[in-house]
Symmetry: C2
Subunit: 346 residues, 2 copies
Amino acid sequence: MRAVNADLQETTHEELILGLLVEGGPDFVSGEALSGKLGLSRTAVWKVVNALRRHGYRIEAVSSRGYRLLEAPDRLTALEVLPLLETHDLGRTLHTFEEVDSTNVVAFRLAVEGAEHGELVLAERQTQGRGRRGRSWSSPGHLNLHASFVLRPDLPPQRAPELTLLAAVALAESLRATGVPADIKWPNDLLVGGRKVAGILTELSADLDRVHFVVVGIGVNLNARREDFPPELAETATSVLEVSGRPVGRAAFAAALAKRLEDWLDLHAAQGFRPVRERWRALSATLGQEVLVTSERREVRGVAVDIDEDGALRIRTAGGAEERVLAGDVETVRPRVAPPSPPRAW
Amino acid sequence: MRAVNADLQETTHEELILGLLVEGGPDFVSGEALSGKLGLSRTAVWKVVNALRRHGYRIEAVSSRGYRLLEAPDRLTALEVLPLLETHDLGRTLHTFEEVDSTNVVAFRLAVEGAEHGELVLAERQTQGRGRRGRSWSSPGHLNLHASFVLRPDLPPQRAPELTLLAAVALAESLRATGVPADIKWPNDLLVGGRKVAGILTELSADLDRVHFVVVGIGVNLNARREDFPPELAETATSVLEVSGRPVGRAAFAAALAKRLEDWLDLHAAQGFRPVRERWRALSATLGQEVLVTSERREVRGVAVDIDEDGALRIRTAGGAEERVLAGDVETVRPRVAPPSPPRAW
């Protein structure tokens, strides 16, 4: 495990100049403006630009006009993410790693040591990515997003499940903004055409009265191709690239996700779970379906009719009774629309 | 923060010999038996006995009869606690400190790093002892018990509150065994005559489906005298010594508490919350009282009639309706029996 950005001083100048170039968009930013804003000599600016080029940034330099950014590398370090952030808290403190056991484990440890609301852990690769119930979450490196946010909401512990549904809403919206018609399978999977494109793992630390912190871990298949997945996932997983045909800038996706997550958290803090619940219903792949829910000690089969005020799934069984499930695995027994057959390459 | 027992090898021989002396009770244990069981020379046994004496153990040595333990120092290290343990898991791995910020903080960190079910943190002194809602728990050093158990129960997170009530039952029984008629104020205080003698702080780490671990922190006023408490607690706190007039061996109390806690955990794992709930009712100072409960966003006043299957307190309000409270502060408005007036020393 190591931080990608070792030299903080250098990184800061690179971030600042990159931020100004991103702000400039297709226009040139003059060397004079850059050196003036940073209090650096023109030569120093030129050196920082060259450092950025070594990191994979294509920067055009035209004498008398200045510099402009042509292309950014698809990396996930502070350099790529920070200039794109439009949040007040989320992601403002970034912990980026080339490889970790699991971003949730790292974020949980950071939170135990006092990490603040909004701190974000990103990793190019997870050696022990996890889903719910200790299941592994396998994902090829450098193509997808593995992100864990430390959140410190003012909530009693029994309301923590609301944050999983909230994160699912923010994630579904972020995916839809890339042109991928994702919807939510209760409680924490994002599906396209019945295949998993993203998942959420929420972990919390609490006493009886208050949540101390929540770690919201988000894994998204962005630019992985069919052949990048392990064989056992080839039929059940998909990615934004597979669905839309277009690769996604991962830093841009991470920044957009942070913004949507923060907007929903702000709304949740101000108005409670009601607006989250309404939006969740509209994005749900589960409601209206006949499902089999396997939970702790029982199986419940019936039609998923709603989610409750506390995030529990309401199921109307054949006898007409309604049952509540707080956690469990949902399997659609008789889908309203058959999922598309997986393409076969042989 | 430091471990009291630095020299593991030496500690092990001391623990073994001490264990055999404790087992021998009022009888002498021959030097030959000790050296045979440990595979040590008689001289080596004599050296270990002298090391124990330097730690404050009074050990009588009579040639031709052997050694016997007359008195143990009132310390809380592995040396004192382990020979007294009758548990299978709880306290078998001990982390003992002279001073920590809070035993719960230490235990929580250990659990994040993988501490197993039953590991126990003991400290002579806490610099930042805590109660619920971040309140401080003030306690003089070397007189009381500050203990935090790491537990790994197989439970969904919404059942975690059961463990607080379970710990309160085990703690009330341990106190009663010392002759102190303690009862339980919902959810986590132990009272004698309306004064607090002990408290519990339960913290958990979980995802939506499972508890990863629970830290049960227990603070007990054992041998503190009235003048040892800070002035602001003098009227509301008491101790086993103040109530019973007899000091308590802290290691013995810790070992007995671990045993009762483990027995209740075993019963809970086998039979669920029902037997815990029944015992809790019998030990309760809250049921039958008219109470005012201040929780998150509301106050509920009425008669505390029962605890629910999930540990929630049921209150019958003046209008006859019943309300459930999952967390909050309980204040007795009209006690059935007036608490005894505090003794006044002036």
